[in-house]
Amino acid sequence: MTTQVRLVFGWALVGIPLLYGLWETIAKAKNLF
């Protein structure tokens, strides 16, 4: 596996769940305003 592929896979593995968490939290935070 090339370094580029490993970088994309690694950052996607942690980035996608993090984006999901951020999305859900922002949706919840909208209730404040």
């Binding site: 690694g10 769940p17 993090l18 951020l22 935070a29 404040l32």
Partner: protein
């Protein structure tokens, strides 16, 4: 080569040309998983019903886990340094995942002590080892930007709850069709939480294995392109010498920094622990009705999570440019002003309250993320992970002190649901005093005396053991 041998430090040295940008995702894979510990509130009510126990008995599960985090980081820090990040991450994954499985057994058999043992004790050990495992490796890969590197990983610890909270609700609604996460009074069944524990145990083990197999330490003489260690010498408080963990705890700098972290965390926990009822109480009229709804208060909790996470990355990265000591002067000094604002004008408008609380919580997160780089500046990179582990006992102590202070004041002022802003003022002024103590402790931090430095190999008398060498 056996599995355990493959995990040794000597087998994790990176080959030439290995990208250092592969290290943060490996560290994040561990921290995002163990950060679940901040999402325990999603099944707290289910535990109360399932075990027919009080809120306090259930709250103890979280407290045990945090105390074990501090203890295992303190006790296991030297072991982590000696065995390297890969073995440490593997051990952390085993403890963290088996903690969930033993916890699931406790839920299934309705034995609360098994949940204490599983999630609290066994899982807590996984938390402590996992929290410190990538720190010194990141500092070695990013000597030019240690604040940013550790900020990224420790941001993951804050982000873990952001993922685990909605994911757990989704999974529990699959396992218990009667459970509706969008209805506040809906509580998932015990078997759904047991299934959730099994699922999370498996998912976290797999994700943490990505971290285990991708973490690598740089070769001894490696340095990033264009980086000159001599530039560090020009910065105040930054040493190019090394202090062992054994010697670090003999220095006043360690205890001043312990106090700084303790004060910063205690003050932050005061708001975090009470965030949802606090915003409602601040905007409660004399008639007892709050203008902030339960749903809006839930939104406030979400905003604080974002501020906590962002603060870890943004403030820690900023410290690479302005220095660690000035950064903590901001956390503690501006923190004092923010708390003062909360106590005096925070009740005037929701946006003022939210902005001030966000600032305080971003400093709380920033304090956690900046401390490894502060330790590196003071004690060098030699055993920074082990020193960090010992310093995290401040977190455990603050985890007990913070809620005790705020709940102690509030209990004396009335009953929950009827409190107003006046009930919070004594607690807020106490937090200001605590931050002031931390501010002074930070001001007193000076460079470590040369008698604590490690000697170069050619200066150590022949026949000296490594332990003796630590105290030379």
């Amino acid at each position: 080569m056996s599995l355990l041998t493959a995990l040794d430090r000597k087998h994790t040295i990176a080959p030439e040309g290995y990208s250092r940008w592969l290290i943060p995702p490996a560290a994040l894979a561990v921290h995002l998983c163990i950060g679940q510990v901040y999402a325990t509130s999603v099944y707290k009510n289910s535990f109360v019903k399932h075990f027919d126990a009080s809120q306090t008995s259930i709250g103890i599960i979280f407290s045990i886990a945090i105390v074990m985090l501090g203890l295992s980081a303190a006790v296991g820090g030297t072991w982590v340094e000696a065995n390297g990040p890969r073995k440490a991450m593997f051990v952390s994954a085993c403890f963290w995942s088996s903690g969930f499985l033993v916890g699931a057994l406790g839920i299934g058999t309705k034995q609360l002590w098994l949940v204490y043992l599983g999630y609290g004790v066994i899982g807590g050990i996984g938390l402590g080892i996992g929290y410190i495992s990538p720190v010194s490796t990141l500092i070695k890969w990013f000597p030019d930007r240690p604040g940013m590197a550790t900020g990224l990983a420790i941001m993951g610890f804050g982000g873990g709850a952001l993922i685990a909270s909605p994911l757990s609700q989704q999974l529990m609604s699959w396992y218990d069709p009667d459970y509706n996460p969008s209805v506040a009074s809906s509580v998932p069944s015990g078997s759904a939480v047991a299934m959730l524990f099994v699922t999370l145990g498996i998912i976290y083990f797999v994700v943490m294995m990505y971290g285990v197999f991708n973490i690598k330490v740089p070769p001894e003489d490696w340095r990033p392109e264009g980086f000159d260690p001599a530039t560090l010498k020009s910065k105040t408080l930054v040493t190019t010498n090394n202090v062992s963990a054994g010697n670090a705890i003999k220095t006043p700098q360690f205890y001043f920094l312990w106090l700084v972290l303790f004060c910063n965390v205690t003050a932050g926990i005061g708001i975090l622990e009470q965030s949802s009822p606090m915003i409602q109480d601040f905007f409660r009229s004399d008639g007892g009705v709050s203008t902030v709804t339960v749903a809006a208060a839930g939104g406030f909790v979400g905003i604080l999570s974002l501020a906590n996470m962002a603060g870890r990355f943004v403030w820690s990265s900023t410290s690479d440019y302005i220095g660690r000591k000035p950064m903590y002067m901001i956390y503690l000094g501006v923190g004092i002003l923010a708390y003062l604002g909360l106590a005096t004008i925070g009740h005037n408008a929701t946006w003022v309250f939210v902005l001030l609380a966000m600032l305080i919580i971003s400093f709380y997160g920033g304090g956690f993320a900046t401390v490894p780089a502060y330790l590196r500046d003071l004690f060098g990179g030699f055993q920074v992970g082990a020193i960090h582990g010992r310093l995290l006992t401040a977190w455990s102590a603050a985890g007990v002190a913070g809620p005790l202070i705020i709940n102690g004041f509030l209990d004396a002022k009335g009953t929950p649901g009827k409190l107003t802003v006046d009930a919070y003022r004594p607690a807020l002024y106490t937090m200001i005093a605590i931050l002031a103590v931390g501010f002074i402790a930070n001001l007193l931090i000076r460079p470590v005396a040369s008698r604590f430095w490690e000697r170069a190999a050619d200066e150590v008398p022949a026949g000296t053991t490594p332990t003796e060498r630590e105290t030379v």
